[in-house]
């Protein structure tokens, strides 16, 4: 077992355990922290296969910026309370999700197992192990830069535009509009929830009546 494989496996355990943590932790803050764990693990995996630049921005952008953004939002909105994982309003969603996830995993693995060789055309610019005129291996950043600013320059520009639009959009949406906010439209779920609450209330009232207690006060209790 080479160092490479060892590193990969170690990082892999970090990644997978982080991912499971994200899914299972009731508190979004915990989930965010687990996500950071996963992202760091991924960064390590990048390093293993010589994607140095990507590993760097994985840490800087993802872990540094995106997850922090998540945490900001969680804190801003104060939604850091635990989600009740015991109930599932949509009937059959959870088993279906697990079956689907399992099937997805199984099939993907089956596909990987059944494909024995790699095929595919080259992209126009550069192999990973390209060298300069002197025969020295090119730094990863240089290679990536060359590819991005030649072959993919149009995509790059468009991405820039996309980011700008996203920022503008985010600002517009998150802006606080003066005056009262339009409440969310009522949904079927709301109705069922209210019905359930009402049923519970009337049940309580009945119980209270049985016990000879005033209904209103029971409601307040």
């Amino acid at each position: 077992m080479s160092l490479q494989v060892f590193t990969f496996l170690l990082a892999g355990v970090i990644v997978v355990s982080g991912a499971i943590g994200v899914v299972l932790s009731k508190n979004p803050v915990h989930a965010a922290l687990f996500l950071i764990q996963t992202l760091f693990g991924v960064a390590v995996e990048f390093l293993v296969v010589e994607a140095h630049f990507l590993a760097a921005i994985q840490v800087i952008v993802y872990a540094g910026a995106i997850v922090i953004l998540f945490l900001f939002v969680i804190m801003l909105l104060g939604v850091d309370r635990a989600e009740d994982m015991r109930v599932e309003p949509i009937i059959g969603q959870r088993p279906a999700a697990i079956v689907t996830g399992g099937a997805l995993l199984g099939l993907l693995l089956a596909v990987i197992a059944s494909s024995d060789s790699l095929t595919g055309g080259r992209s126009q610019k550069g192999a990973l192990d390209a060298t300069d005129q002197l025969g020295a291996p090119l730094p990863n950043v240089n290679q990536l830069a060359e590819s991005i600013f030649t072959d993919y320059v149009f995509a790059f520009e468009v991405t820039g535009l996309l980011l700008t639009v996203a920022v503008v959009g985010a600002v517009v949406m998150a802006r606080r509009i003066p005056g009262a906010l339009q409440p969310l439209p009522r949904t079927a779920l709301d109705a069922s929830r209210e019905a359930a609450a009402e049923a519970a209330l009337s049940e309580a009232a009945e119980d209270a009546a049985d016990d000879g207690v005033d209904v209103d006060s029971a409601g307040e209790v």
Binding site: A65, A96, D129, M173, P183, T187, L189
Partner: protein
């Protein structure tokens, strides 16, 4: 166990992707759902990088670069939406937003 091959990355990617997918389907908190989406994106990134290595082609890494940018944009917009929703209803879950029911 021998040498590291791109298949390791593919398997890892598949596992993380599936976990992300299950999380997305199971969790109701929109923020956590976003995190699961990030997991899935990262899983894809892993396969890209792994294949770039296996195929000895920088193109895979370029793709990852773009994925990251798009992920950043997506998170920005998505979180803005979450903020906008949460302002209207505190502690809303994704199931509360079912106004498009047929």
């Amino acid at each position: 166990m021998g040498e590291l091959t791109h298949n390791y990355y593919l398997v890892l990617g598949a596992v993380v992707f599936s976990i992300g997918a299950v999380g997305l389907l199971v969790r109701r908190n929109p923020l956590v759902m976003f995190m699961c989406v990030e997991l899935m994106l990262n899983a894809v990134n892993l396969t890209f990088v792994g294949l770039a290595w296996g195929l000895n082609d920088i193109g895979g890494q370029v793709a990852v670069f773009f994925v990251m940018v798009v992920a950043a944009a997506e998170v920005v917009v998505g979180l803005a939406i979450v903020v906008a929703i949460m302002r209207r209803r505190d502690g809303a879950t994704s199931d509360d937003l079912s106004a498009l029911r047929g």
